[in-house]
Symmetry: C2
Subunit: 496 residues, 2 copies
């Protein structure tokens, strides 16, 4: 920075009628000291008054500005309190520190979306889904979100109005870290109706989605001496990343047409396992009754913990969903649910039902994490659940998602006849695999270059024998689905 032109030299007296071109007429009546202090701060910040320079004597500046000396004394006093200037007795008042100056050119952390090629070239890191989201695409077939266009905005607003009208002042203060009693009560009823789970509302902990459940539970399990949580393979990359961030190993358990291989689980050195029994992610398999019984034996034989991620269990199209494992095994299952697949991920509301021995530790972890979820959205959600609005929404989504699933199955059969479609008629996505040897990351990269976003199966696999894709259909119209899958077919035929 060139200080020689615009700035006074070290220790020179800055004064004269032109001092900072101050015009007292700019100051609000009754706020002159405040105004003057602010002008001086700005001048110090942009180096018009550099560190080491001396301010005019109060008497002199008061005369120049035609204000009382008290106005200037008061302004200087504020700068002394700020720490910007210091009074040095007869030596006068000296600038001793400057506020930060903002960067002059582009922001320090420009947000640049990575190229499709770069995105899929390396092992997916912790920010992979953020990077993926940052890339614009014509058709987004990423899995994991329901039809967000169907979010019940009017019902939400009505419930919010009603909540704001009925809340007491203390409801807006710090609250129970477990969540509001109203929502825990509503969720207990929801789980009884929809998931065959009977639970005392006091045993429900409201969290900021299943991501937070894994983070909090990871801490609690480590404190309990557990160092590994077995995971399904293929299984959710995001969940695996969350567990690993808690310094937990994630030994893979293969998934076949009946779900996770419990016989393999028996051979793995893990006292805990993360499962998606109702609709396995990403294969879409429903855990069979035989496997459920094997799991129960495993849990009792090994004092094992099953983390049941019930992420999209309500979205079954051919028949009612299977009951949650939690409903038969409350002492060995930590059950995790959320509204991310029922309403919207952006709400960041979920719930966890821990086995009795972990409940207190989990509440403590939630308290230390953030003192509990925000209250207003909990009251709104409790109303939607209590009024039947949530069930209406779910019925609507089921119909819509089912027709979109059908559209995607048709499109795959037409445009990707070589693909094998996996999984039950359920959920928000389907998995396809190819009996071939190409890298599915190349397919995903080429598709993204053509404006179609998909996730390669290998991202979600620890040992992946076959290339594949995980395709979300819930958030797309049948037309977009058909067009997107047609592009995939075209891309596949032109893969090098």
């Amino acid at each position: 920075m060139n200080r020689s032109n615009s700035c006074p030299s070290h220790q020179s007296i800055v004064s004269g009628s032109d001092f900072l071109q101050l015009n007292i007429l700019d100051a609000p009546v009754g706020g002159r000291s405040h105004w003057l202090a602010q002008q001086l701060r700005l001048a110090i910040a942009d180096r018009r008054l550099p560190v080491g320079s001396k301010l005019p004597a109060t008497r002199v500046l008061a005369g120049e500005l035609r204000v009382s000396r008290g106005v200037v004394t008061e302004a200087y006093q504020r700068l002394i309190e700020d720490g910007h200037v210091a009074g040095h007795g007869r030596s006068g008042t000296i600038v001793v520190a400057a506020p930060a100056v903002p960067p002059e050119a582009p922001p320090t952390r420009p947000v640049v979306a990575p190229s499709p090629g770069a995105l899929f070239a390396a092992e997916p890191g912790a920010d992979i889904f953020d990077s993926m989201r940052a890339i614009p695409a014509r058709i987004d077939l990423s899995p994991g979100t329901p039809d967000l266009a169907a979010f019940p905005r009017s019902a939400w607003l009505r419930a919010e109005r009603s909540a704001l009208a009925s809340l007491s002042a203390s409801d807006l203060g710090y609250g129970d870290p477990r969540g509001t009693p109203a929502l825990r009560h509503a969720i207990a009823n929801w789980l009884a109706r929809n998931r065959a789970i009977r639970v005392d509302p006091n045993d429900i902990l409201i969290v900021a989605g299943t991501a937070q459940t894994l983070s909090l539970l990871g801490q609690v399990l480590r404190d309990d001496g557990i160092s590994a949580v077995a995971v399904e393979d293929p299984g959710s990359l995001g969940a695996r990343q969350h567990l690993r961030n808690q310094r937990l190993d994630t030994p893979p358990i293969p998934v076949d047409h009946q779900g996770a291989r419990v016989d393999v689980l028996r051979d793995v050195a893990a006292r805990a396992v993360l499962l998606t029994p109702a609709h396995q992610f990403p294969t879409g398999v429903v855990l069979s009754g035989a496997r459920r019984r094997e799991l129960m034996s495993w849990a009792s034989d090994n004092d094992g913990l099953i983390i049941e991620d019930d992420y999209d269990a309500e979205h079954r199209y051919d028949r009612p969903p299977v009951p949650a494992l939690r409903s038969v095994l409350p002492n060995h299952v930590c059950y995790a649910g959320s509204v991310s697949k029922l309403l919207a991920p952006a709400l960041r509301i979920g719930w966890v039902l821990a086995p009795p021995k972990y409940q207190d530790a989990l509440v403590a972890a939630k308290r230390f994490a953030d003192l509990g979820n925000a209250a207003l959205p909990q009251h709104v959600l409790a109303q939607l659940m209590g009024s039947g609005e949530m069930e209406r929404q779910l019925r609507f989504l089921r119909t819509r998602h089912r027709s979109r699933r059908d559209a995607m199955v048709d499109a795959v059969r037409t445009h990707l006849p070589e693909a094998v479609i996996h999984g039950a008629a359920a959920g928000l996505h389907l998995m396809i695999t190819f009996d071939a040897t190409f890298a599915d990351t190349d397919l995903a990269a080429s598709a993204l270059a053509r404006g179609v976003k998909v996730q390669p199966l290998s991202w979600h696999s620890q040992h992946s024998p076959r290339p594949g894709l995980v395709l979300g259909y819930a958030a797309n119209t049948p037309t977009a689905i058909s067009e997107g899958v047609a592009t995939l077919g075209d891309v596949l035929r032109h893969l090098p």
Copy 2:
């Protein structure tokens, strides 16, 4: 449990026209299998069909119920998928596992508020503020909340309506873990206007309040090899608990009339310090200009980190607040702010401005914690900040809080003339101390037994020479304040 009366014996065939008193007329048309499966699940859950019992043959039950055999087969199939029953070929269909039965008598974790005596008898634990909140009181003089009755409910609802009308569907999906661009932009402008901080919105991280800031930052600091964060003494008990939960030591730095003693900080083995410079909690002292300069030297000499908890800086009644330390020392200050004292703690929204070297790690920690704050409230808050509504709210609160502070000062002078009042004309609470030797926990316990809730100073002190109280006034009317303090005076005179 007495199974002998109501339950069939092991492996006996349950059948006959009275089987479970099922009445097919109760079943919805087209949903008979679903209904039957549900009835069987209920019977298994309440042990009318215990584990080991055999279900009637499908042909038999179909005849009894006068439905097609397919209806029964389908219901049994669902129970097999659940894992509740198993087909054993010619041996028939056997119940093999039961869903959980809810506790029959009182809930497992009854919520009982502790007695005032018990609450103050022991060292305060991690759940102390929850326990405190659970005890009802006529007058609550706990510090830490603004006047929640003044929460701008109409403005919030208007902003919510506008947000719901303008958001795109993808705004309801998973988002940037740093927070919505709109809110980060609005906060950058708020901080420039109100706290003399100039910051790029990309360098702001939205969090779930300052509690989460401490949790996330604690993880990041430990990963950077920092094992201790010095804290003010007296200083916030809650903040100290959060740091200790992250396995950080919290060496105490005494506070005098100029704020934290930076000379002591120099002698302490800590590379980081948590401060409340604008209005120290709980003393109410404003960090002096001289100390601010000492701090700056400490930070540059030791590559030190200052965590600036700016919790109620905007609430200054006699003059504009001093600028934030962050405004002069961006590379050494991690700045934490929130809306808890501006709007309501229940919103769980805060922000953190980390030094460049910690920004990426802090974003990663937030991603792993919960994938980012909920989006809707962020959009609402951005609107309130952008429209000037927040400044209106702040002006309103300042006037109201100031008169309540005056009322409390008057009440203390009248009813507790022996008390010394500390701190600047600012904030939401004041601290009083007594030149005496009684235990302030006894005073707080006796006051609570008389229906007045206060926090003893000793809770917030690591070394406490004098008894004292921390008294919140913001959330009470002048009448309640006067009545509460009068009770305190009466209690004090009758202390054993």
